[in-house]
Amino acid sequence: MLARWGYRTPGMWNEMARLSREMDRLFGETGTGTRAGVFPPLNLYDNGEALVVRAEIPGLKAEDLEVHATVNSLTVKGTRKATEVQGASYHRRERGHGVFSRTIGLPQEVDPQKVQAAYRNGILEVTLPRAEATKPRKIRIGS
């Protein structure tokens, strides 16, 4: 019995981690789970074949964005320009502007040659296909 529990523990921890993520996500949706102090905010997903990173970066042109990928990291860089209007007086100024650069480590190795990025409605989406070596492989059992 004890031995069996021993085997199950890693699975249970994964399960706990997943639960904790789900909880964070739930709370995130009520406004406490977002991280302050980073731009752009990123969400990282796994679709089975690839890692998918989405970032909220409104008000840029695709050519103002730079995306670099290595086997295990992703960098997003750019400049959000301020709107300067001659002779205007500002009532409110809440939208941030300036240069930004973020690098995140990836939890799985990806193939940098196959990375694709799209920018639509102010959201950047980067698809990073998993490296062949990390894909699950069926092993033939020799007799």
């Binding site: 993520r21 964070d24 996500r25 995130g28 949706e29 009520t30 406004g31 789970g33 977002t34 991280r35 302050a36 102090g37 980073v38 731009f39 905010p41 990123l42 969400n43 990282l44 997903y45 796994d46 679709n47 089975g48 890692l51 998918v52 989405r54 909220e56 970066i57 409104p58 008000g59 840029l60 042109k61 400049t79 959000r80 320009k81 301020a82 709107t83 300067e84 209007v85 002779g87 205007a88 007086s89 500002y90 009532h91 409110r92 100024r93 809440e94 939208r95 941030g96 502007h97 300036g98 240069v99 930004f100 939890p107 920018y119 409605n121 102010g122 959201i123």
Partner: protein, 134 residues
């Protein structure tokens, strides 16, 4: 202001229930805005990432301007590993002054940024008075 400085970050804040619940279901966030005034008009810029033209509503009613936007980010088949921003709609209201010509308000949505131009009424625009010489 120079564009070389690092970007200042404003956290995406969900609207709390005590501030009045939205009629539509789901989480709503307050969009960050810039508002500036020139002699001709007041211009409002709002960050609405993920919002398409079809999902955006701008209403003017009794001097109250309301921006409501739905966001439908497709997360089907995606297992979240790490999240920093919540997905939800945006809503914010402003009270307009008497000076705005409500019939001529125009709006454009580009790359997740709404630009709303609120022109001032003709009769209220500042006018330079020529001084006649005797």
């Amino acid at each position: 202001m120079s564009d070389n400085k690092a970007i200042e970050v404003k956290e995406k804040e969900a609207i709390k229930k005590e501030d009045g619940e939205p009629t539509r279901e789901g989480v709503y966030y307050t969009p960050a805005v810039d508002i500036f005034e020139t002699e001709e008009a007041i211009t409002l810029l709002a960050d609405l990432p993920g919002v398409s033209k079809e999902a955006l509503d701008i209403d003017v009613e009794d001097r109250q301007l309301t921006i409501t936007a739905g966001v439908k980010e497709d997360e089907a088949g995606l297992q979240p590993l790490y999240t920093e921003y919540g997905i939800g709609g945006f809503t914010r209201s402003f009270r307009l002054g008497d000076t705005i010509d409500q019939g001529r308000i125009s709006a454009t949505l580009t790359d997740g940024v709404l630009t709303l131009v609120l022109p001032k009424a003709e009769r209220l625009k500042p006018r330079k008075i020529e001084i006649a010489t005797a």
